[in-house]
Subunit: 159 residues, 2 copies
């Protein structure tokens, strides 16, 4: 794809982010997913309108793209998102394994308008006991039994 | 809550993780969300059975708990999860803002049975241009207009 194509897909994401604000559906974020030069899914931030803190634009678009493809993997897909993905969405993208991520605004731009993206990235770099939400480990020995059961399962579907 | 209560909720999560393997719904992971001493939502990993790479146990449970509470915030809730949350799920937890996270297996335990949790955490610490999935910035100036529009919107719902 040439620069023009990339710009065209990102422009669609940016346009959707404006529309999302105007329609009051959620934050100023939108994502477009492209395969073989065609948009296969779109997503906008729906957190406040659906009471779902996981309904960020990238997550909404990834779920829709996977539904369209009938797969839990986005092989050969490109993701165009109007802002650098937050840790939740970047994690989702890694699990979906697309080819590339194109983004426009950054985590710092998001921080400047009141979103926690940068704070959450910073938290990830801290040890468990120094984080804002406390993380406490318990019962690892019991839980490891399930992991061994998974390892020994012959008909499992890896992902 | 005493230690016994914590163990009871974690034991329920571990039991659900076994059940999830046996029913072939997805990976060996489960999550229970508790408010005021009562389980309000449960989730197991449904990635392969629903073709949804975001359907990790924590995400499934958070979405259900928010549906039950009619809120995009998990105020005063505790999360009991059979494995340390991956970056996607930890990000989701930060957005949902519960009180505490209890976990059993670690990211390294998950890595040993074939899951990418540790790899993805490691990727987050690398600069954009050194990551496995390439991240390319474009059209920031155009996208910033939507951020300004959000900032100036008087009737927005922050989250």
């Amino acid at each position: 794809m040439g620069t023009t194509d990339h710009d065209q897909f990102m422009r669609e994401a940016i346009t959707l982010s404006h529309k999302n604000i105007q329609e009051g559906k959620g934050g100023p974020f939108a994502t477009v997913i492209v395969k073989n030069g065609t948009v296969i899914a779109r997503g906008t931030n729906l957190v406040t309108s659906t009471n779902d803190p996981t309904a960020h634009a990238e997550i909404v678009a990834i779920r829709e793209a996977c539904r369209v493809l009938g797969s839990f993997q986005l092989d050969g897909c490109d993701i165009y998102t109007s802002c650098e993905p937050c840790p939740m969405c970047l994690g989702a993208i890694y699990w979906a394994r697309p080819k590339s991520i194109y983004f426009a605004n950054t985590r710092d731009d998001a921080a400047k308008i009141g979103f926690d993206d940068r704070t959450i990235y910073d938290e990830f770099a801290r040890p468990h006991n120094q984080r804002k939400i406390q993380m406490i480990q318990l019962m690892r020995d019991e839980a490891l039994v399930a992991f061994r059961e998974w390892q020994e399962k012959n008909d499992k579907i890896p992902y």
